[in-house]
Symmetry: C2
Subunit: 141 residues, 2 copies
């Protein structure tokens, strides 16, 4: 049985071609796409697709922890990610590339003297990526 079918079944979600398309697209294209990018990509082979379907399913899958939603501070679109294990994002302010950062932040230890109950932590990094740094060096020479 297909892994995406298994994934959906384990959350008691109905198997639809739209859901499978979204999951496989996210899994095979780790580019942190927006709802619109997912929509456009899938629509190529399934022209009847509606944008509402994308939003509905994204919603359901985020709630079921199958995919993760995140956004950058200064961006107005949500982005999505198949991976749900702890990781962060680095965005380059020059090339706008988004890199996964696989570290684990000690976000709870520091929180001690606040009495709020932390359930989630979200964080991202911004700066200039390795590639763009190297380009700059070459120009200077």
């Amino acid at each position: 049985m297909d892994k995406y079918v298994k994934e959906l079944k384990s959350h008691k979600l109905k198997i639809t071609s739209q859901r499978l398309d979204i999951l496989s697209f996210l899994d095979e294209n780790r580019v942190h796409p927006s709802a619109d990018e997912i929509y456009k990509a899938i629509k190529i082979n399934s022209p009847a697709l509606s944008k509402t379907t994308i939003y509905n399913n994204i919603d359901v899958m985020v709630k079921n922890n199958i995919i993760k939603a995140f956004r950058f501070m200064d961006s107005n679109e949500l982005r999505f990610d198949y991976k749900t294990t702890e990781h962060y994002h680095f965005i380059c302010r020059k090339c706008k590339n988004i890199y996964d950062v696989d570290i684990s932040l000690p976000y709870l230890e520091k929180f001690e003297h606040y009495k709020h109950k932390v359930e989630e932590f979200y964080g991202d990094y911004k700066g200039v990526c390795e590639n763009c740094l190297n380009k700059k060096k070459q120009k200077k020479k």
Copy 2:
């Protein structure tokens, strides 16, 4: 000389009543307001105010590091903050209150083996706040 005038001058920005209004509003009301909330609050005493002015100025001030912009993952509006020193936000999923969290995260040390140059780190916490936790306990009794 007024501290907001000084602040604007130090960034070579023109002094306008609109800018002074925005700054004093943000400084005196530490509620992380959205653009619309700032607009409505200032419009009461300056009815000629345009929303575009709010957006323009917010933009200029963020770029000049006078105020800070941030947003929560699942919200679609930007929020603003007079404080520009390192601090994070905790949002309560019950009462939606936003609390400042004055800690400093060791976000750079962990980053070592990536070659990207980090310039900024953004993070926020989500959970249930002290108040809401206490309310729940009382109900149970």
